[in-house]
Symmetry: C2
Subunit: 240 residues, 2 copies
């Protein structure tokens, strides 16, 4: 399983993903699920992936191929697309095509494979936008009413986001909320695991601000997790 979350705020975007993949519970590995495509000052695109690794790796490979050799690739380059909407449409088309291709293969073995993605970013002259792509390639967009998107094992980490995240939330608070949301998920579900990848894209920067890999024994993350546990227990005791 996987947990990825993206927050779209007035001040910018926060992306957080885990790295655990598994084929059954006895075959666990670490794979990056966050991919950044940046032309500093011109555009910054972040893609988070969940689902079948064979699908998500192939989609990212085809997107990269189209960027490197846009004349001969079957898809348009997301680095030249005129808007974030068009970027997301291209990714949705690749995801749809790859899923159909792989599904046709695995369905012959009575298996299924799907993947979903979060795409966020901004190009110079456009607004920051964030989308959730369904396995079929269609998508929805984050809005001020629902300024965050989640894929994978999303339920454990949703209550904290529901309570504290709004468009006016600062990037520091959004970073904290995303990490606490991940912390709740890590505690309750073995199939989501460290290390974590965190990226922050400030509004109108069109570049990656912070980009961090948080390792399993990261002192700051452990302190945050412990402080949150203690705060929850104190709050619990304090309630009449």
């Amino acid at each position: 399983m996987t947990y990825c979350v993206g927050l779209l705020l007035d001040a910018g975007m926060v992306f957080l993903s885990d790295t655990r993949t598994n084929a059954g519970v006895d075959n666990i590995a670490t794979y990056r699920k966050m991919f950044t495509f940046v032309d500093p000052g011109e555009r910054a695109i972040v893609i988070l992936t969940a689902g079948s690794l064979s699908i998500t790796q192939t989609v990212i490979a085809k997107l990269s191929e189209a960027i490197e050799d846009s004349d001969n690739a079957p898809y348009d380059s997301i680095m030249h697309a005129p808007s974030m909407l068009r970027v997301t449409e291209i990714i949705g088309q690749v995801l749809s095509d790859v899923t159909a291709d792989i599904s046709a293969k695995v369905s012959r073995m009575s298996q299924a494979a799907t993947a979903s993605m979060i795409v966020g970013g901004q190009r110079a002259g456009g607004a920051p936008r964030m989308f959730l792509l369904y396995p079929e390639g269609n998508f929805i967009e984050a809005t001020p009413d629902t300024p965050f998107l989640q894929i994978g094992e999303h339920k454990y980490g949703k209550p904290i986001l529901d309570r504290v995240v709004a468009p006016e939330t600062s990037l520091a608070d959004a970073r904290k909320a995303a990490l606490l949301s991940m912390d709740s998920t890590l505690r309750s579900n073995l199939s989501v695991g460290m290390p974590l990848d965190l990226v922050i894209v400030e509004t109108d920067a069109c570049a990656i601000g912070e980009e961090t890999r948080i390792e399993p024994n990261d002192a700051d993350f452990m302190a945050l997790s412990d402080a949150w546990s203690a705060a929850l227990r104190d709050s619990f005791r304090a309630i009449p």
Copy 2:
């Protein structure tokens, strides 16, 4: 959907269930999902149900039939079973039979129907025990390592239980934890809805202690919910 939770503590057992049932999102109704079978001082059994209402109602009806007319019913009465293990085996057998019967019917329409249950209780001379029955009729038991069981939409409400519930937790704290776990679920999932049914069975009482229906505008529950929201937000702000 549904959310039911049972906590097995040294001091006794806490049971909490919602009441929302739905056939699609446009057909919502209120049904009790908690059933108590009590012979005061001799035994107290509480059953929580999740899943297809046609299955759970039929199971409860067959259990009741066996209690009322144990000579002619095809199952043993759970009110005469010599242990909680045997009580759970009887319920598991009925659940398995009813599920097989209804599944055979609905599979002809390419539909599926299943149900799961939590069974907890104590009889005089035995220990308090709590079980989770799977749709197939087999079951697992709550233990000191994992002193709570959940059925239905369990993920949103699990983090708080993971953090604060242990066998030595008082009944008052366990009641609070169960209600906060339900509150998180109600906030994040529309298919779980008020009113709530709450029952507390103290160890060695073999009788129902508290039995409460909590209505949608219950002042105490709203105060608890608001206090928890405020405490979570304060805790969030207080963390560095």
